[in-house]
């Protein structure tokens, strides 16, 4: 039985999940499989790039955020998936050894007229480091099952 429904998310709610340490091995393994660019694979080559040193793939940040979201609350929720992602901004490089946390902020919540069994929740996720610097920010609307389809709208 899912614990978290659409009704449990309110505008302004903030939660922080993690921490999780991102290792060099993980950065290189992800890049070798999905995004084999020198900036993500090899220190010497990465020095010549705009990041000035080895940094994780932007897709790796997204995948980590998805995993931290899942472990943080999604697996205990009545999630029905997401139709997409509004925006991802890669603000700072993901450096090897960084301890990251995921901060979620509920931006908006609304019911669905056409599908009364669910509601829509718009959330911003910030991947932050130990000093609270935002590495990547992601804004997405998720579909969540309602505990009470006849309840508040």
């Amino acid at each position: 039985m899912a614990k978290l429904h659409w009704e449990d998310f309110n505008i302004g709610d903030v939660a922080v999940y993690g921490p999780r340490r991102v290792t060099r091995e993980e950065i290189v393994a992800f890049a070798a499989e999905f995004d084999p660019q020198p900036a993500h694979l090899d220190e010497a080559a990465a020095v010549a790039t705009l990041h000035g040193g080895l940094a994780g793939s932007g897709w790796h940040s997204c995948a980590l955020m998805m995993r931290m979201m899942a472990d943080g609350f999604l697996l205990e929720s009545a999630s029905m998936g997401a139709p997409g992602v509004e925006e991802v901004r890669w603000l700072e490089p993901l450096r090897p050894g960084t301890q990251v946390r995921l901060r979620m902020t509920v931006l908006d919540t609304r019911s669905s007229k056409s599908r009364p069994e669910m509601g829509l929740t718009r959330i911003r996720y910030d991947l932050i480091d130990d000093a609270d610097v935002v590495i990547t920010t992601l804004t997405s609307t998720m579909m969540l099952g309602r505990r009470d389809p006849e309840g508040r709208s």
Binding site: C62, M66, R67
Partner: protein
């Protein structure tokens, strides 16, 4: 990578095809998106998806290797002609990612990239910004994913 000045809005290419299997769907989901409809056939059948389907992130992320290989092939051609090759800078943002259809076991997705826009960069002298639309289409011709990524591209400048 071609230089910022040489980019033509509307240029497009098919960069690769990826077939989603039970093994690679579960392999990705187990690491990055362990929702049951990506991991367990019975749970997926009971879900609104109706069958095991790929994480939307997997559908997006597997396109990247094709883009990297495409750029590498263009760079090799330019080098063979004795030309200097532009540096691709990091991506700055992604917008408007849409998961249009679920991707199921056995689906083959063809990825196409198209130059959507170019503009100047305020923060990086020597670079411009290029926005690429990536579209993934399944074997039935249905679009399953679409997104826009903007990244930095080196300008030819005076050195070219």
């Amino acid at each position: 990578m071609i230089f910022f000045e040489d980019i033509v809005v509307g240029d497009s290419a098919i960069v690769g095809r990826h077939t989603f299997t039970t093994e690679n769907i579960k392999g990705f989901a187990g690491r990055y998106d362990p929702q049951l409809f990506h991991l367990d056939e019975a749970a997926a059948e009971a879900s609104h998806f109706g069958a095991l389907c790929a994480s939307g992130w997997q559908t997006a992320i597997v396109s990247m290797r094709f883009v990297v290989e495409h750029r590498r092939a263009l760079a090799e051609l330019a080098r063979a002609r004795g030309e200097r090759v532009a540096r691709a800078g990091p991506a700055v943002d992604m917008r408007d990612l849409k998961w249009l259809q679920p991707v199921y076991v056995g689906d083959t997705i063809e990825y196409r990239i198209e130059v959507a826009d170019t503009r100047a960069s305020d923060s990086h002298s020597g670079f411009g910004l290029m926005t690429i639309r990536t579209t993934g289409t399944n074997q039935k011709g249905e679009p399953v994913i679409s997104f826009l990524i903007t990244h930095l591209v080196e300008r030819r400048g005076e050195r070219g």
